[in-house]
């Protein structure tokens, strides 16, 4: 019933109604109509200039800056450096490994929208959970058949993907443990968890990255050395775990006490109660917030620039000072911006779609629960 009430009229009718509303608004507020027309005109001028600069007069193939048409964008800079922007300084013969690391996450997400097949869910889950381990092993090499590549050579989109995905995946179990500890009955556990979470949430990520690069080597046993990338990743993971823990806690607080009582009555122990009854519901209810955290984390991976790692943004910024391609900051920033925007906007759309589906499912599910 609710679905019928919410379902929208067919598109032509909706369009007619909307334009009718538009006309009525325009007639009632002539000043607003004028403003609208002025805005439309400005949008047209700006759009025309962008198309003329970015596509019509743009140069896509050139050896260096002087080969570009000065009236348009010099995309040749991006085209020439694309391998570097994607894979950093990774050895050319081994780039297929970096390509696999970059393509794996979007491929896994695509699997989530293709038609159902047997074991899809398990495959996607295992893929995401094992991603940090597999990606690190693949990139580092040192196994028979894979030559070793030091972490200093990793960079570009590969590094961004690796840091973002690894920090998110690794922080998830930590976040769940922290959230459970913060809502636990033992006061000492609650206090420790709360202190840990508030500490990492209260510090700027820039300071955390400095700290992890300066302080973590001091904390390690003498003689143990860790690459800068691992230190930075450790800092980002703990930072993201603290934020995720608060999100998970929000989900835990939405679980009614009846669920605990029922699970207890069925003889569930603590861990099976959490694993089979509480967490599945709690996590499902906060999926949008989790995706928001993931988006924020993905944007925050750019901060690794301050400890000298060459992620996508930093490698493009470094490329801007190339003497052959001087003065192409606009093109470089637009390129980076389009990539980040596409990924972040895509993720937020996905989350909105999920929320929409959940809301549509909810009334039906509630009704079924009531009738039983």
């Amino acid at each position: 019933m609710a679905a019928e009430a919410l379902s929208s009229p067919p598109i032509p009718r909706r369009l007619a109604r909307q334009s009718g509303v538009l006309l009525a608004t325009a007639a009632r507020h002539p000043f607003s109509l004028l403003v609208s027309l002025a805005l439309l005109y400005v949008a047209w001028i700006v759009g025309e200039r962008i198309v003329s600069w970015g596509i019509v007069h743009a140069t896509f193939v050139a050896a260096d800056r002087s080969g570009c048409d000065p009236a348009g964008a010099c995309w040749a800079f991006i085209v020439n450096r694309l391998p570097q922007f994607a894979f950093g300084f990774y050895p050319e013969a081994e780039r297929w490994r970096a390509l696999l690391v970059v393509l794996a996450p979007p491929a896994l997400m695509l699997l989530a929208v293709v038609p159902e097949f047997r074991g899809r869910r398990a495959f996607i889950t295992a893929g995401f959970c094992l991603y940090p381990l597999l990606a690190f092993t693949l990139l580092a090499g040192g196994l028979p058949g894979l030559s070793a590549v030091s972490t200093e050579k990793w960079g570009g989109l590969t590094l961004t993907m690796l840091v973002g995905m690894s920090a998110f995946v690794l922080s998830f179990p930590i976040a769940i443990l922290l959230a459970l500890a913060r809502t636990a009955s033992l006061p000492a556990l609650r206090l420790v968890a709360a202190g840990f979470i508030e500490f990492w949430r209260g510090l700027p990520l820039v300071a955390i990255l400095f700290m992890s690069v300066i302080m973590l080597p001091l904390f390690l046993p003498p003689g143990v050395e860790a690459p800068r990338l691992s230190l930075a990743l450790a800092g980002i993971t703990l930072y993201s775990a603290a934020y995720l823990a608060e999100v998970v806690r929000g989900g835990l607080q939405g679980i009614g006490r009846g669920q605990y009582e029922a699970a207890g009555a069925l003889g569930f122990g603590f861990w099976s109660m959490q694993g089979y009854v509480v967490l599945p519901q709690a996590l499902r209810s906060v999926v949008p917030a989790i995706v928001n955290t993931a988006i924020a984390l993905f944007k925050d991976t750019t901060y690794v620039m301050v400890v000298g790692l060459f992620d996508l943004l930093n490698i493009v910024v470094a490329g801007l000072s190339d003497a052959h391609w001087i003065g192409l900051a606009t093109e470089g920033y637009i390129f980076v911006g389009v990539i980040y925007w596409t990924i972040c906007f895509g993720m937020s759309r996905m989350s909105a779609r999920f929320e929409h589906c959940e809301q549509r499912r909810q009334p039906a599910g509630a009704a079924a629960g009531a009738s039983q």
Binding site: V35, S36, P204, A207, F210
Partner: protein
């Protein structure tokens, strides 16, 4: 009804306390105590190991420790500072300079982002279709790009669009604008007359605010004549004060301007980026707040004959504010922390001068990291205390 496992178990414990504890409850309590002791013991072992490793590592690197360096001479200049500081300043003073710079950036960006965010948020729910589309486009464009990209973009735009020092733009011959910054005149000396005039201006402004508050308490508006005359008086006093002060005008000497105060372009880039980025998030908070107010409120206010502007100001916004306070607190905390990005563009904020330059020079890693962390933890805690106070103030009083 919301309950957590913790509440549930607490309640179980309380129920037991009313009568004599059963052996089962006693066993449970003992087990809980033991678990906590084991946890604390394990934490103590880890902490001990870390301290031991740190001490050994520090000794191996020959680094001194202690907070005495705060009174030593730092020996470097800071590009921008609100208080007197030069190469002979102590590290303690450098710490203060960095802290004040961080606070300045955060405070300006906070106010600007709130104002712009409110404007965009109101446009998001306005009946004007182009305004809605435009504000939606702004929000979606801005919040899906990393803040660091915004910052680098603004730095590039501002630095490229400004002239070199030699061709600096003169603003009325007293202020100059170049790609090294905005040069403003400073008062050379404060004599008694301008001080008195300034005190008068402040007093008039305070009196005006008090009058407005009294009127507000009686649910009236300050009469336009009174408001205009007080505003005019304050403005006139300020103008006279400015004329009475002897100004030190920046002058071009060699490769740079001397005298006066220089505002770095990095500061402008930082504030622009922080403001525009956070405004997009504030706008979404404002939109969510306004949409959380029931449709009935709007209809009731319209039925009472209030104009759309008054409906917004008197009915919708006061109710929306309550919903907006917690997410706004998060956004403010985020903004304060994000101001540490200053270090990327080279603006001397706390992280840049203290965790960067001072740490490199003294090598007191532990002390400096602890001090910096303490500052940010205090600031974020202060934001949450402040917003809790405000939330209590605007809370709905139920009768």
């Amino acid at each position: 009804m919301l309950t957590t496992a913790a509440n549930l178990m607490d309640e179980g414990g309380r129920a037991g306390r009313s009568g004599a504890p059963t052996p089962r409850q006693v066993r449970r309590r003992r087990a809980a105590l033991l678990q906590q002791l084991v946890l604390l013991g394990a934490l103590a072992v880890v902490a001990g190991l870390i301290v031991r490793n740190t001490v050994i590592n520090l000794q191996a690197r020959g680094l001194a420790s202690g907070f005495d360096f705060l009174w030593q001479e730092a020996g470097f200049n800071v590009g921008f500072s609100l208080i007197q500081a030069d190469a002979s300043s102590t590290y303690g003073r450098i710490f203060l300079v960095g802290l004040l710079n961080s606070l300045l950036v955060a405070a300006v960006a906070m106010v600007a982002a709130t104002l712009l965010g409110f404007l965009v948020g109101l446009a998001r729910v306005s009946p004007n279709v182009p305004a809605r589309l435009l504000s939606k486009g702004y929000v979606e464009l801005v919040r899906n790009l990393p803040l660091l990209l915004h910052l680098l973009l603004w730095q590039g735009v501002i630095l490229r669009s400004l002239p070199t020092v030699r061709e600096a733009l003169g603003l009325g011959g007293v202020a100059f604008l170049s790609n090294r910054g905005l040069y403003l005149p400073t008062p050379a000396a404060w004599s008694a007359v301008p001080l008195m005039l300034l005190t008068g201006a402040v007093a008039a402004a305070v009196a005006g605010l008090l009058l407005a508050r009294r009127a507000h308490r009686r649910q009236e508006l300050l009469s336009p004549h009174v408001a205009a005359s007080i505003g005019g008086l304050v403005l006139a006093l300020l103008v006279v004060t400015a004329a009475a002060i002897e100004w030190e005008v920046p002058t071009l000497k060699g490769f740079d301007y001397r005298d006066g105060v220089k505002i770095m372009p990095e500061l402008a880039a930082l504030i622009a980026a922080l403001t525009l980025y956070n405004a997009a998030f504030v706008a979404e908070i404002v939109r969510a707040g306004i949409q959380s107010v029931g449709e009935g409120q709007h209809q009731a206010a319209t039925a009472l004959g209030l104009s759309p502007r008054l409906i917004m100001r008197l009915v919708i916004v006061p109710q929306a504010i309550r919903v907006m306070v917690p997410p706004m607190a998060n956004q403010y905390a985020h903004l304060i922390k994000a101001s540490a990005l200053a270090t990327v563009v080279g603006f001397p904020d706390l992280v840049n001068v203290f965790m960067g330059t001072a740490l490199n020079q003294t090598g007191r890693a532990v002390e400096i990291v602890v001090l910096t962390a303490a500052v940010y933890l205090t600031l974020t805690a202060a934001v949450s205390v402040g917003t809790n106070w405000y939330a209590r103030r605007v809370k709905l009083v139920e009768r």
